[in-house]
């Protein structure tokens, strides 16, 4: 590197000033709100779908065989290809949600299934003997056995959610989005801004991870 270092790695002070400037405008907060909404929505939909579908697939081999290839595809299909199609289906505000869903959902799904599979066969035998019905086995046995797996999946997925949502925002550029600001900072080489936004995302993510962990602590582990 020959030139000015600040352009690559701005000093913390420059970044700090950029951050302060940002926090003075209301647009920043609206943007944060929108991006948070997208991330959280994508995350929640992933959890809902991943856990429910994971249960069915974990319990029933047939359902698993049915869904596994589909989820294999979802797991892989490149963001670029998704966005092209997603743009037709959704408003551009919602494209990042959809993309985040496609990334986070398979993680939750896979972990849920592993959790289900880790259930002690001896307990299932006990349930069989005592004629416990499916639903109660799910609620009282599979559920608790899979919790640590689902927890791990959720923590991974939430973190990834932030990352993926902002990446999808960069690619689909909805009006209020951190991704668009990241993109602009990059195009105009406003590296302190880029770092300031990065910092905001990281803080948001740490905050939400804490919230998630507090919420999860309520559950048995």
């Amino acid at each position: 590197m020959i030139i000015d270092q600040e352009i690559y790695l701005p000093s913390p002070i420059t970044t700090f000033y950029a951050l302060i400037d940002m926090l003075k405008t209301t647009d920043t907060y609206i943007t944060i709100l929108y991006s948070t909404y997208r991330t959280v929505a994508g995350f929640l939909i992933s959890c809902g779908a991943g856990i429910v579908l994971g249960y069915f697939c974990g319990i029933n081999k047939l359902v698993y065989d049915l869904f596994n290839p589909l989820i294999g595809i979802i797991r892989t299909i490149p963001v670029m290809s998704i966005i092209i199609i997603a743009i037709m289906w959704f408003k551009d505000t919602n494209v990042p949600i959809f993309v985040a869903f496609l990334m986070c959902f398979p993680i939750i799904w896979t972990n849920t299934i592993s959790g289900i599979k880790s259930t002690d066969v001896k307990l299932l035998q006990m349930c069989k003997v005592y004629n416990i019905n499916r639903l109660r086995i799910i609620k009282s046995v599979y559920f608790y056995s899979s919790i640590p797996y689902i927890k791990a999946g959720m923590i991974s997925a939430l973190g990834l959610g932030w990352k993926v949502t902002s990446a999808a925002e960069v690619l689909s550029l909805p009006k209020y989005s951190i991704g668009r600001f990241l993109y602009d900072s990059k195009v105009y080489l406003e590296i302190p801004d880029l770092f300031a936004w990065t910092f905001i995302i990281i803080m948001l993510s740490i905050l939400f991870e804490k919230l998630l962990k507090i919420f999860l602590r309520g559950l048995y582990d």
């Binding site: 020959i2 000015d4 743009i87 689909s172 550029l173 105009y188 080489l189």
Partner: protein
Amino acid sequence: EPVNTEPVNVTIAGLKGPTSIGMIKMIDEKALNTDKYNVNYVTESAPDALTGKIINGEIQISSVPINLAPILYNKTGGKVQLMAVNTIGNLYIVGTDDIESIGELEGKILGMSAKGSTPDFAMNYLLNQNNISDKVELNYAMDHATMSQSVIAEDTRVALLPQPFVTQTMIKNSNVKILVDLNEAWKAATDNTSQLYTGAVIVNKDFAENNKDFIEEFLKQYEASVNWVLENQKDASLLVEKNEIMPSAAVVEKAIPYCGIVYEPAHNVKDGLNEFYKILFDSNPASVGGKLPDEGFYFTE
């Protein structure tokens, strides 16, 4: 005279698009490769892939979007210089509606792409100058390709597009016509003080100072290449396809006359550019890197 000194590595870069078409002869011939210089030509699809390497000095000479030049100049503290403008005005309003001037856009929905880019600022400036900025609804797509898709499908009836998307769109849907040449509209709006510049060739300042002969030769050959392209459009378009700058020679051949390929050395266009950058700066200072470039921005031989 030391004979076996290591040759200097030079990387000349361009974007896959009109800004590289003028250089195609040099790219194809791998021009300027001598005992003293080991020249390597690369073309990238997006400016992002170039900026990093321009800044860290991996790329010595590059063609870039017109506003990236002052951004780089400002952000690196003057380590790059603009040597020449290589494209002017490859933006067009296209569509299936019948209009002939900016003024007729009144009451219409105009398809736009790449919000916050130079074309965006330019269009907004023109709407302002025509006093219809609040009478035109701008509908932004994610990028040119998406907007092009929408025009082809006739979901959008008038849209602003750059070349080669204009040609591509017209080939894929023959109902689509060029409605307004934005450069003409620009010239009219600025009383011919500036043009709608779109691409520039920049050079690493240190490199230019230390390799004066090379730069001189480069500019000479570059001008020759541009002229050759303009005179031999069919051959040029074949070379463009062959060197994987753009995929379809047919599209390129049709597009070349509308791409605004020129060779204008810095001293010729300095005033016009200053005027142009001022307009951008007034729209959004960040679009030229926060401040207007000073004298040192323009390369002098």
